[in-house]
Assembly symmetry: C2
Homo-oligomer: 163 residues x 2
């Protein structure tokens, strides 16, 4: 059985996100994992994720950075709280906290080729209270194509799902 | 016949963008227009463009800001060059130049409700050579939900479509 991604530990009601919700059948369903002190996500853009023919759409790159970074924030906060999934792969608290994005910045360094898998790597640069800052790079064929930073904040109570 | 959007003046080979390409049948196909010295785009998120239930996905908001701003940059550059569509709606140069995103910044100010149309308004804050800077706000029900800035650069020759 493959290792679970961070997003598999979100509670069900927080798992409909277009970018990373395992329950959004129309979405991207990205999965993020620890790799030492960094986090990693691999994603294969679909043929229609085009900017101009041959290159990946910048909004998709922003979306990958966004969701991988909020996932990284959730995993880092859980780890900082000692809430680490055990061998049965259930985090001590039952699920990871859900983070939302306060700000997102992306620098597009070079055109990103379409048709190859992308790698997103994240690194926590600050963790303080309910705020986690994550820097991320997106690579294709081992070339860095974009660099991003996300300020993520643990989801406030008033932002619970609207019926 | 409804007024054409900026994106309708892109050359065909630059019209497959997932966010704004009129020829991308799977994409968002946003349309942007002048409104005095500002630009405006209206978009109705689809039910699957969810963050958590009831709220719009942040990556979609980033995508709207991105494509509306590159469209604004193209229209502003065309207007600065006197390349304004005539009554027959054909720009003097035949088409608008295509801009790509060098950097994108989004501040998410409040959760954006899902189920209502969004308005994206753009304003050119700098235009110099091949670079245009656009600031944008995204509103729902007349409340500003996000604010963004895009540095757009006229598409370099080496980024012509890859076959």
């Amino acid at each position: 059985m493959p290792e679970k991604g961070f997003q598999d530990y979100y509670p069900d009601e927080a798992s409909y996100c277009y970018g990373c919700g395992r329950l959004n059948e129309h979405g991207l369903q990205i999965k993020s994992y620890w790799d030492g002190d960094e986090t990693v996500c691999h994603f294969q853009p679909r043929p229609h994720h085009i900017a101009i023919p041959g290159y990946v759409y910048g909004g998709l790159i922003a979306s990958l950075i966004d969701c991988h970074s909020t996932g990284t924030a959730a995993a880092a906060a859980a780890r900082a709280a000692g809430n680490i999934p055990d061998a049965g792969q259930r985090p001590a608290g039952g699920s990871f906290p859900r983070f939302v994005t306060a700000s997102l910045h992306v620098d597009y360094l070079r055109p990103t080729p379409l048709g190859v898998p992308l790698e997103v790597r994240g690194r926590v640069t600050e963790i303080k209270g309910r705020k986690v800052v994550v820097s991320a790079i997106v690579s294709a064929e081992r070339q860095v194509c974009a660099r991003g930073e996300v300020v993520a904040v643990q989801m406030p109570e008033h932002m619970t799902p609207r019926k």
